[in-house]
């Protein structure tokens, strides 16, 4: 009750980073699996990836200073998209999906480097 309320931009940055870190690695795995194995990723692998990335992102939800390396998500998404494009047979709809994924990853990286997120974490710092 003592901490000041975060500003909307700060909360928005934290939300973007949390959701991005929680969800995008799973989609990158789906892309990479299809590219390398030539078959859709099995659901247990998807579930395991989601559990790991959500678990690793959860501290941010509670204001703990745990943000992944800002470049990690774009690197993951970019590598997965490149693998998928190299494997061939990408339809226009899938190309749009890959582009959306890359844009989202870039947006999350920007949010992770933003002053708004830094301020948010400063405000949540105990003491």
């Amino acid at each position: 009750m003592t901490a000041a309320l975060p500003r909307p931009a700060e909360a928005g940055a934290a939300l973007a980073v949390f959701l991005g870190q929680a969800v995008l690695p799973t989609l990158a795995l789906a892309l990479a699996w299809l590219a390398l194995a030539g078959a859709p990723a099995p659901f247990p692998a998807i579930l395991a990836a989601a559990a790991a990335s959500i678990g690793a992102s959860l501290p941010l939800l509670f204001g703990q200073n745990f943000v992944w390396f800002w470049w990690l998500l774009p690197a993951l998404a970019g590598a997965a998209a490149a693998l998928r494009l190299a494997s061939g047979g990408v339809s226009p709809a899938e190309a749009a999906f890959l582009a959306a994924l890359a844009l989202l990853a870039a947006g999350v990286a920007l949010a992770a480097r933003s002053a708004a997120l830094k301020n948010y974490l400063e405000r949540r710092r105990p003491g």
Partner: protein, 276 residues
């Protein structure tokens, strides 16, 4: 089946009738006997998994047997080989993803936005707070799964999604996530209901508190006591709490809609009824 051309003519005649009449029986046997090499051979007629001996082999000479097998009617020559194309469910999968991810975002932003400053109401404290946190995690997992399904829909026209829908392991996993999410939704609505009741008892307007209205000291003291706290919460803290509860209820509404349209509520009826 070993049969000569002449015997085949007899078979063709036999196919015209459902059973083997005495006339057909005689025709078949005669067709066999027209060929010197087969004369006196045993004749068996098979149809629909059953066989009938039309004639036993002669007791002398070489033991031969001629079996006639009547197969089911050949498939219709009308071209029906190409099944109708599966209707794309991309719109539906995107809709589900919007519900799942939207509900998760609202629940998450509620925690992010106000938890630092919110008054401890007791409504979402303890077990209920754990349920709400678990609901956020379950929602994020469902959001990721929805993204995976959307990707499947654009890459293989939903064949993988159809397999997933037929898989008991997948169904049970999503059911478990739904139940956790619904428990969180219930906790959110219960917490909001309790908070709204406390505000009403203290004579405070819920809309005013959400809008940031400054409350009098007696009101704040009454609300604090009603929430099980000590001392007197600030108006800012109470306003933050009210906004958090509002967001949680909106998120719970999305979570329930997602379950009702594509999840546990189809198989498992869960009622969450709270008077706000």
């Amino acid at each position: 089946m070993s049969a000569t051309t002449g015997a085949a003519a007899g078979v063709r005649h036999a196919q015209a009738s459902a059973g083997v009449s005495a006339h057909d029986r005689a025709q078949l046997v005669q067709a066999v006997d027209r060929h010197p090499e087969l004369r006196g051979a045993a004749v068996v007629f098979c149809q629909a998994g059953g066989c009938e001996q039309l004639r036993a082999a002669a007791v002398y000479g070489p033991k031969r047997i001629v079996v006639f097998e009547l197969n089911p009617a050949p498939p219709s020559p009308v071209p029906t080989a190409v099944p109708p194309a599966r209707k794309s469910k991309l719109g539906w999968e995107l809709f589900q993803m919007g519900l799942n991810c939207g509900g998760t975002a609202l629940a998450a932003v509620g925690t992010i936005f106000f938890s630092a400053a919110a008054a401890p109401t007791g409504g979402v404290a303890g077990v209920a707070a754990v349920a709400s946190g678990a609901a956020t995690v379950a929602g994020a997992a469902q959001c990721a799964a929805s993204g995976y399904r959307v990707y499947n829909e654009v890459t293989d026209q939903g064949a993988t999604n159809d397999n997933l829908d037929a898989s008991p392991a997948y169904q049970n996993t999503m059911l478990a996530l739904d139940v956790v999410g619904l428990a969180g939704a219930g906790a959110a609505t219960r917490g909001a209901s309790r908070f709204a009741g406390t505000l009403a008892k203290a004579g405070a307007s819920r809309g005013g508190v959400i809008a940031g209205q400054t409350l009098s000291r007696p009101m704040r003291k009454a609300i604090t006591a009603g929430l099980g706290g000590s001392g007197r919460y600030t108006s800012i803290a109470l306003s933050a709490r009210a906004r958090q509860e509002l967001l949680a209820v909106i998120g719970a509404g999305l979570s329930l809609t997602g379950s009702a349209t594509g999840g546990a509520s189809r198989e498992l009826v869960v009622y969450v009824a709270e008077a706000l």
